[in-house]
Amino acid sequence: MKKITTEVLVIGSGFGATAPALRLSQVGAQVLMIEKAKDIVPERDFKQTQDPKYLLQYLKGMSSDQVGFTYAEALGGGSGFYEMVSLRAPSAVFDQTDADGRRLWPAGVDRKSLDPYYDLAEEMLGVEQIGLDEIPKSGVAFSLLMKNLGYSCDRARYAVKGCVGSGFCVSGCIFGAKQSLHFNYLPQAKAAGMEVLTDTEAISIRPLLYDVRSSAGTRTIASLPCRYAVE
């Protein structure tokens, strides 16, 4: 087994992994990203098909009685396969509490404090609200339905540039219109020195231990802060 030592190990390559990987790489940290799935080059690997054989090699699902969700296993995580809708969480989301009245989000985290980071992420991903003249017939029909029911209806914000309307967003955009992580965070992080290992899975994570000797000579074992062995 090959042993690699790095300052920062990022496990996974989706939205949550690539943003910190990029920023840490940019400030000079030695960053290694590992991804259990295979490498993806959108123009080479994405297909316009509804073949379950193709879709299921990337899209996986998990479910329980309470919740079910779909995720993707590929370099770039779900960014290559999501629907590109990129909305900011409304303020009310951050005020949610659990059954005991405790706030679900950490203190100081709310919409106002996150807005600068939303700005940054939207700029990176090229998120824009679609223009009035870009609303397709299906969207107009839905908006008309809402209008007739007495509701409002807003245009979504998308991470897309130059959409050709082929309709195969979820199978991966072969035109490069979907602004997945392959076009922004990942290449920028690589340019800043980040290394990426695909087909590499983290099986276990354990803290690195070291001896601590007190002045009285007693010996204890402690874990080094933020130091881990990953296999």
Partner: protein
């Protein structure tokens, strides 16, 4: 050898030899085996020609698809491919499925070749399968689903599409007239946000 003995309390006891017992068990198992679809599938208890003769199997499966999907052309190259594609679980049942179609064709119309029957006759055969025991019912329903999943989205030919459902296939270029309404602004509902994000 079977011998009968009358006991003191009047009961007649049949003494069956080991050989006779095994014979009876074998016959009973045979009847049970023949009548039980799951066992026939597991033990592949159907004529082997339906797995070995791929040309026959393909003809029958094509005929099945054209029966359950009206308008499907029997000469389309990938029409029955999904039934035998080893990626999909149905492939391990395709031999039994073809054998079952053939048996029902022979029982109902005296012709084992399902693909040589008329559309009305083939429809009857499929209906017969859909009304059979639970295992066969599930198999036929699965086969119909597989046929639909394979045919309508054109999974083996991304660019082909399917005219039956007005699906033009991948990379179909939409014109502006096809994509947008000219008078869209009169139809849209009121917007509640300035930029698509709720505050």
């Amino acid at each position: 050898m079977i011998r009968s003995q009358q006991s003191d309390d009047g009961f007649v006891t049949r003494c069956v030899s080991r050989k006779e017992f095994l014979k009876q068990v074998a016959v009973a198992s045979g009847f049970f085996f023949a009548a039980c679809s799951p066992l026939r599938v597991v033990f592949k208890a159907y004529p082997r020609k339906f797995e070995e003769d791929t040309a026959l199997c393909d003809c029958v499966l094509r005929a099945f698809v054209t029966t359950v999907i009206p308008g499907a052309g029997s000469d389309e190259p990938n029409l029955a491919r999904m039934f035998t594609d080893d990626y999909y679980p149905f492939h391990s049942f395709s031999g039994f499925f073809v054998a079952d179609l053939s048996e029902r064709s022979a029982d109902l119309f005296g012709n084992e070749r399902f693909d040589q029957l008329s559309l009305a006759q083939r429809t009857k055969v499929v209906e017969d399968g859909l009304n059979a025991d639970a295992t066969v019912q599930r198999l036929y329903r699965g086969a119909i689903l597989i046929a639909q999943v394979s045919y309508y989205p054109g999974i083996y030919d991304d660019t082909k599409g399917c005219p039956l459902i007005d699906f033009h296939g991948a990379n179909y270029g939409f014109t502006a007239d096809e994509m947008y309404y000219p008078n869209y602004q009169a139809l849209l509902a009121r917007e509640a946000t300035a930029n698509g994000n709720y505050s």
